[in-house]
Subunit: 245 residues, 2 copies
């Protein structure tokens, strides 16, 4: 873990956008969030283990993983830009960077959010964001427990799209993410080979296009029907759109 004093990143801005997707926030609140960027920034190569404390993802892609003794790996949750990473709840869990990523210290942001009064919009947005994060975990359980490979993939793609939308890192039609089939397999509890085949099927059905990290979902409604995914944002599209790291 190479700590660098590199210039500011958009980490707190990402968090701000995420929160703004849950409740109408005042410009003052957002500005206060941005001012928090004081935390030191850390840069992480390939995949390694991030140690302790609360961190906020600035760019890249990380994951909370559980590695079994025989090499099987389960990715419990993907951590996207704008997400807050807490200390794992079990020693057997590790946070790994799936790609070169940047994170900043999130304790200031966390303290700031937790200190808001119950009736402030910022508090409510934060509550909703945490609720949504929890929902994603439970969704992961349903995916793995009762959905077929085909449905799982559809469901996950929609979830990722929604989450990236909320931080303004997706367009209405798709998103850019260096998500290999290897990673998808470990999220979805499938083999790489099968992930590949399922993706081909989705392509054949016209529900997915993939080209070097660019995922396009031409028909979200149809995907949602496949996976019984509730489309929360009827084409919520943030003003400024950009590609994810």
């Amino acid at each position: 873990m190479h700590t660098a004093a590199t210039p500011a990143c958009a980490a707190s801005e990402l968090l701000g956008r995420r929160l703004a997707s849950y409740a109408l926030l005042s410009l003052a609140d957002l500005a206060a969030l941005h001012r928090l960027k004081a935390g030191e920034e850390s840069h992480i190569g390939g995949d390694e283990l991030a140690a302790a404390g609360v961190r906020l993802v600035a760019a890249g892609l990380l994951a909370e993983t559980r590695l079994l003794s025989d090499g099987r790996r389960q990715i419990i949750a993907l951590k996207l830009p704008g997400d807050l990473i807490r200390e794992p709840v079990a020693p057997s869990h590790a946070i790994v960077a799936l790609h070169p990523s940047r994170t900043i210290d999130g304790s200031a942001a966390l303290a700031f959010l937790d200190s808001r009064r119950r009736d402030e919009p910022l508090h409510q947005a934060w509550q909703l964001a945490m609720r949504h994060e929890q929902r994603c975990l439970l969704d992961q359980i349903v995916r793995l427990g009762r959905l077929s490979a085909h449905e799982r993939m559809a469901h996950l793609l929609l979830e990722l799209h929604e989450r990236l939308c909320r931080v303004g890192l997706a367009t209405a039609r798709g998103f850019q993410l260096r998500l290999t089939q290897d990673i998808l397999a470990d999220v979805l509890g499938l083999s790489v080979v099968h992930v590949n085949r399922v993706m081909q099927q989705l392509r054949r059905e016209g529900l997915l296009t993939y080209r070097s990290g660019l995922y396009t979902l031409p028909d979200r409604a149809a995907l949602a029907r496949v996976a019984e995914y509730p489309l929360a944002l009827q084409d919520l599209e943030h003003a400024g759109l950009r590609k994810a790291g």
Copy 2:
């Protein structure tokens, strides 16, 4: 939901025991918890939907479930006596009583616990309890994603045993719970038939005995090896042992 003014139940006592399993609590704290039993008690038949608010399980067996449109059901988490049930995070989730069960209003207990100062043992115990609950959710993800049916079953049995131990509803060797293979199937993401076969195998291996609701785990260490489950309580055994409802 049939609300009854029936005499007090041991609900807050169960919660007290659970918390006491995480940190050394003063008798005063425990007494304060017990005094909270003011909440009204509700009684629930077979399986139905419990509505809103925070509830504390007094007896029986409930679950947070997700039902898919074609009838597939995933049990996301089992709610045992002493557990706190929060409002589901998604409208598609429901809390159902898998058996006749009793719950009391948990908001008083929750408020009480949340109001403790950071340095009080009660606060720490509560933190650890919540952490553990979260760990169980993540364990469920790993189980469904990367463990075989055989491993899943072993893992779940150990988890249930540990949790029941913490509320004093298990002996060192086993526990009593009206857990049908039907329910197990929906927790483990398997078919009933397969659950049955896996249980037979465990029996043949001398790792499990089952007789009308009484689960016995003659060799927890061996089970733990099968499932890579970390045995937290080296035979923690509460003073007074009793059977679960």
